[in-house]
């Protein structure tokens, strides 16, 4: 009972954070709403019994990635967003579109996927099981993903480093 109440509460907080993320005009408020979303998702994982995933969610998403988001917003000193005529069109088309697509997704998941609801605390939580799954059953996907991330890092380095002509002129002084 308590599980269900907590689950619904944090689900509501999560959705409220997501809506607030879109409504807020200032980028830093939006970023903070996203942190709330990440945090409440972590609590949902915890309530489902996936404690390791919950901790990783907080450390990686809420802790590391969102700090970078906030860092970039602070560094660029991004101001308030301005409404243009384009954003009005997006508003008019976006809200009905989002409603229709979320109803569609819910309908597909509920009626056609054949999955059943997971009781609270039933997911494999202990880090040992997750480690076994990652390094045993899903070793190939795991390694391929890490190669993918490595390529992304290399791309970032290439984009961030100044072109050779600039480096040359720097050396020559």
């Amino acid at each position: 009972m308590l599980h269900l109440v907590l689950f619904l509460t944090f689900g509501a907080i999560c959705v409220a954070g997501a809506v607030n993320l879109l409504v807020q005009r200032h980028p830093i408020n939006s970023a903070l709403s996203l942190i709330v979303v990440m945090g409440s998702l972590a609590v949902e994982y915890l309530l489902l019994g996936a404690e390791f995933v919950a901790a990783v969610q907080v450390i990686i998403y809420a802790g590391a990635i969102m700090v970078l988001f906030v860092f970039v917003i602070m560094l660029l000193n991004a101001g308030e967003e301005e409404l243009t005529s384009g954003s009005r069109v997006a508003l008019l088309l976006g809200i009905p579109g989002m409603l229709v697509s979320s109803v569609l997704v819910a309908w597909v998941l509920l009626a056609h996927s054949g999955t059943t609801a997971v009781p609270a605390g039933a997911l494999p939580g202990p880090p040992k099981i997750i480690g076994w799954l990652l390094f045993h059953d899903f070793l190939l996907p795991f390694e391929v993903t890490s190669v993918l991330i490595l390529i992304a890092i290399m791309g970032a380095v290439v984009l961030a480093s100044p072109p050779e002509s600039v480096q040359q002129s720097k050396k020559e002084g």
């Binding site: 404690e51 390791f52 901790a55 906030v70 860092f71 602070m74």
Partner: protein, 346 residues
Amino acid sequence: MVSVESFVIGSIIKTAIALLVLLTAVAYTVWLERKVVAHIQNRWGPTRVGPFGLLQPLADGLKFFFKEDITPPHVYKLLYIAAPVIAVTFALTSISVIPIGNWITINGVRTPLQITDVNIGLLIILGITSMGVYGVALAGWSSNSKYSLLGGLRASAQMISYEVSLGLSLIGVLILSGSFSLREIVDAQGGTFWGFIPRWNIFQGQIFAFFIYLTAAFAETNRIPFDLPEAETELVAGYHTEYSSMKFAMFFMAEYANMITVACLASLLFLGGWHGPLFGPPWVQSILPVFWFVLRVFGFLFVYIWIRGTLPRFRYDQLMAFGWKFLLPLAIANLVITGLIVALKS
């Protein structure tokens, strides 16, 4: 199986005691720092209030309360107020999973000396400390002043950089003990090699990991030689330039509470937790582990202050180069070697 009522009451009592002890420890760490640094610099430190200046923290606290709380007109108000609250909340929360001793029995109720024993205790502490950076970053941004902003930016960049090495240095310990639970990690360090060398992780080949942890922890808690977020000589006071009264005190408390958490974690993970010689009547035997643990934490805090009194501050490029080019490769090497040895042994 304990009943729900006794569980709730027990938890509330334990939380209250832990909070009280932690806040007192924070106050007296400040006193210790002032005393030790003073003696390093050939001064006396606080001497007027109480014997050896022991009541100085109380006087400081009172002074903080009665200072005028100034909110500058140019700040972003909501986040300006939230930032110190975030900082102090996360700093105080992490104590909840730290065990300070063995199980004890009071009135027939057997309880661990810890608010709660969770099997991912270490991950929870890492998660909480990684959230703590928002306090500093948001304080810097919402103050709307150049010094604060630079301090906040420095703090977040520094914490992200050193968190990687910090996390990697802990994995060696995790491989050796095979658990995330802080209590199990300590239990794995009981006993001795050849009868006289204790089986602490630092003696099980994790000496480099301990060094990495020590360095990264200094950077995480923004202490000298890594206190660039609040470097007085260049940034006035860094991220808390615009704060006064209790809001400033909250940042201050958060910093010292983080120091204590780091010291507790170092004692638990590397220095054998509460293991030590046990003797005397049963009640002494149940108290002694706590004493050994507090002794280690105290020793670690002393090293913290000692280094503060000794080393100058790094330059920012030195800080980044040291973190990424030296500490991180060393942490990865330590992880690979530890993993290899454990794999070959089993």
